[in-house]
Symmetry: C2
Subunit: 207 residues, 2 copies
């Protein structure tokens, strides 16, 4: 089994020591080093470049998410596992958007923790069932009552609007007059309570 190199970023000394013990005592895992602040990690992680980083979210000044955001674009090969005490909804999505690859709770049992690190290393995205469901749910297009109120034709035209087509282009696609497209759009805006294209498209994408 290949050795997985690991770094830890954690500002609570007791928790850090416990994590270090788990990694060091386990075959197949090698602790390269630890950091107690995001600032130190930004400097040190690119030098040590481990396979996996266990990143605490709530650090001192700069939090773990900011830290990932700073490092990940420059070193996409480094895998980040976010560690927190609670499953905070917003933090999860923020972390994933920042480039985190996994998300586990600190209370996770040592064996599970090691398993998750390996899963991450092997191309997975370890996270609890509850988090996975939230992530999957985020994919569901939230079809609001407003969107539902659109007629078939209007919904069709909104799709074209979302692609950035001009009215004349939409008209050509649908074989109707540009003026008719214009009128449909007018009604779409009324139903969605917006007054320009981008706002309508944002509603279409559930934002």
């Amino acid at each position: 089994m290949e050795q997985i190199t690991v770094c830890i970023v954690e500002d609570n000394y007791d928790i850090l020591q416990a994590l270090e013990q788990i990694i060091m005592m386990s075959d197949g895992y090698k602790l390269l080093g630890s950091f107690t602040s995001a600032e130190d990690a930004i400097v040190g992680l690119p030098i040590l470049h481990p396979n996996v980083v266990l990143m605490d979210i709530n650090l001192g000044k700069m939090n773990g998410i900011e830290c990932v955001k700073a490092i990940k674009p420059l070193h996409p090969e480094i895998l980040f596992m976010m560690c927190t005490v609670y499953e905070e909804d917003e933090k999860i999505f923020e972390a994933l958007a920042a480039g985190a690859n996994g998300y586990i709770l600190k209370k996770t049992a040592p064996a599970k923790m090691l398993e998750a690190i390996r899963e991450l290393y092997e191309g997975g995205a370890p996270m609890s069932s509850q988090i996975a469901r939230k992530v999957v749910n985020a994919f569901q297009k939230p079809h609001s009552a407003q969107i539902d109120s659109l007629s078939n034709r209007e919904a069709e035209i909104l799709e074209y609007l979302a692609k950035g087509l001009l009215y004349k282009e939409i008209a050509a696609h649908l074989n109707i007059a540009q003026e008719t497209v214009r009128k449909h759009v007018y009604h779409i805006y009324e139903k969605l309570h917006v007054n320009n294209r981008v706002e309508a498209v944002n509603k279409y994408f559930g934002r």
Copy 2:
């Protein structure tokens, strides 16, 4: 342990029989019925309303994703586990967007299959490591070379464009002349190789 009620939608008779056997022979799971077409399932599933549906993606005329799309909005409490032979990228996201809750491969071992069904029932979103990574990656804002080429000010203005603000509103926010905003936008379009707002915003959101 509570009984989990299950229905299967699968048009291959051999595979269907195998799945039925697995469910029927296992404690804690109860097979309510099976369907061999999406059309039949749309009629029958709401009547049987199982906890979990094993849904084949490649059915005859109407595929499994269309089927989920038809039923899920009316019965969000029914959980859908998509089953396919291969991990087809586009299908995964299409299925999740349609309202699927889990995504596993048909070759999955019976024990794992049952475990996944229970995980689904208990609020999880079972899927393979590879799929989970793809789903998580989809959250990462894909910052293209084009987006990176924008200056700070331009990126800032693109954010406002994405919200649907008028030039004059953006100008007011930034305390600069509307004409200056206009010029920034002109450069943004050049760098992103687009010629209207919606296309620029789509690049911003990685579409």
